[in-house]
């Protein structure tokens, strides 16, 4: 009995210290913004590996998600003779939920895991300690550019996802199933609000980008410096980012759209 209590206390303390380390790490990363402003080249390089390389998977997934939404929405809406609302349905679900959430999940899988593995390996091969020996702060030099690259890329990727998704839905709905093109767009424009829908979606994606980059980089930085430790850290990144994204999405949705 005492043993169980001891274990519980131990686990709690470990989690709390990890959270504390993570918070200090985050503060440290945020102070790195001054270094990035001085050397924007570092940020551009990371924008390439975090953003540009994730571009393809985001656009392809967005296209297919939009097309599936168009197809499924049409089947259900045509039962009520409301095919014209297809545009509203596709755009609302993409802009409010699927755009930010699915692109955050893909981002965690594509870019987050790569970041963790990269940082973890740098730690395992003692490159980070090497930098410290040369009086270069690895958090500011290595990690901060990656963090801000993730923070900048995420809203762009989510906006791309939503746009391609809407176009995919239009392709299936208007092109294949014969929904009226004018009604598709005009109903969408009448129902979707700029600040309610578009801006809230962007805010969501910024929050997700912040959390996903933070988790990925911290897991890499905090990894046990062995090959097994790095592989575990990578797994934890994907799992934790997915949980954090979905959990935060619920909270954000409740806060943003709760009073309707």
């Amino acid at each position: 009995m005492l043993y169980v209590l001891q274990q519980l206390g131990n686990v709690t303390l470990q989690r709390l210290t990890k959270l504390g380390r993570g918070t200090f790490f985050l503060l440290h990363v945020l102070t790195g913004i001054s270094d990035i402003l001085r050397r924007p080249g570092l940020l551009v390089r990371q924008l390439f590996s975090v953003g540009v390389l994730t571009f393809l998977i985001i656009t392809l997934s967005g296209l297919f998600v939009g097309m599936v939404l168009g197809l499924q929405g049409y089947y259900t809406l045509s039962d009520f003779g409301a095919e014209e609302s297809l545009g509203v349905m596709v755009a609302t679900s993409l802009v409010r939920e699927l755009g930010p959430v699915v692109s955050a999940l893909l981002f965690a899988g594509r870019a987050g895991s790569a970041l963790t593995a990269e940082i973890g390996l740098m730690k395992a091969t003692e490159q980070l300690s090497g930098m410290e020996m040369m009086a270069v702060d690895p958090v500011k030099r290595i990690i901060a550019p990656r963090f801000f690259a993730g923070l900048i890329s995420m809203p762009l990727l989510a906006a791309l996802f939503s746009m391609i998704g809407v176009l995919g839905g239009q392709m299936v709905g208007v092109g294949l199933l014969g929904v009226d093109d004018g009604a598709f767009w005009s109903q969408m424009q009448a129902k979707l609000d700029f600040s309610d829908d578009i801006l809230n979606g962007i805010i969501k994606s910024i929050v997700f980008g912040f959390v996903a980059s933070w988790i990925a980089l911290f897991e890499g930085y905090d990894a046990v410096p062995t090959s097994e430790g790095v592989s575990r850290a990578t797994t934890r990144t994907v799992v934790n980012s997915a949980f954090a994204t979905l959990g935060l999405d619920f909270i954000l949705t409740a806060l943003m759209f709760g009073d309707h």
């Binding site: 080249g41 551009v44 390089r45 924008l47 390439f48 590996s49 953003g51 540009v52 571009f55 755009a91 802009v95 900048i152 890329s153 809203p155 762009l156 990727l157 906006a159 791309l160 939503s162 746009m163 391609i164 809407v166 767009w185 969408m188 424009q189 009448a190 979707l192 609000d193 700029f194 829908d197 578009i198 979606g201 962007i202």
Partner: protein
């Protein structure tokens, strides 16, 4: 990875496409393009019941949108709803004895104000009030009246 022009170009393309996507979402998908109202004049009308009318609902004549609702308020003295609508400037000579009704687009669609032009020579101006109005039909009231009538017939 070396810092190169290609890298800069690719990153620039990525950021530009993200911004294009954002602009597309704001202009084509949402109502931002209709947000900037063309200049117009304000006309008000009093209704006993506005039903589900909302700010930014359309104002139409003969089915064509000529403006939008800009405000809905309640007059505590006369217990009526005061609806202010902004009508586009190019429609500057609607007869001042026009009547306003609240209709529903389709069975479950949104509600809008329809103006029926009268025969007067004078025009509606900024700040004028439409006197003849017809309130929104509330489904429950109609069903209630129908049931009441049925009950009366059966006796």
């Amino acid at each position: 990875m070396q810092h190169s022009k290609t890298l800069d170009t690719l990153v620039g393309l990525f950021v530009a496409s993200g911004i294009v996507a954002f602009l597309f979402l704001s202009m084509q998908v949402s109502n931002l393009s209709t947000f900037v109202e063309p200049e117009g004049y304000l006309v008000s009308a009093r209704f006993d019941n506005v039903g589900g009318l909302k700010v930014k609902s359309p104002v139409t004549v003969a089915g064509v949108r000529i403006g939008r609702i800009s405000a809905i308020s309640f007059d505590a003295q006369q217990f009526q709803a005061v609806v202010k609508m902004r009508i586009e400037k190019k429609y500057n000579c609607l007869p001042d004895d026009s009547s306003a009704s609240i209709f529903t687009a389709g069975l479950l669609g949104e509600q809008y104000v329809s103006l029926e032009p009268g025969g007067s020579e004078d025009c509606l101006k900024n700040g004028s009030e439409i006197d003849i109005t017809q309130s929104a039909l509330v489904l429950e009231e109609i069903i209630g009246q129908f049931l009441f009538k049925k009950a009366g017939e059966s006796h």
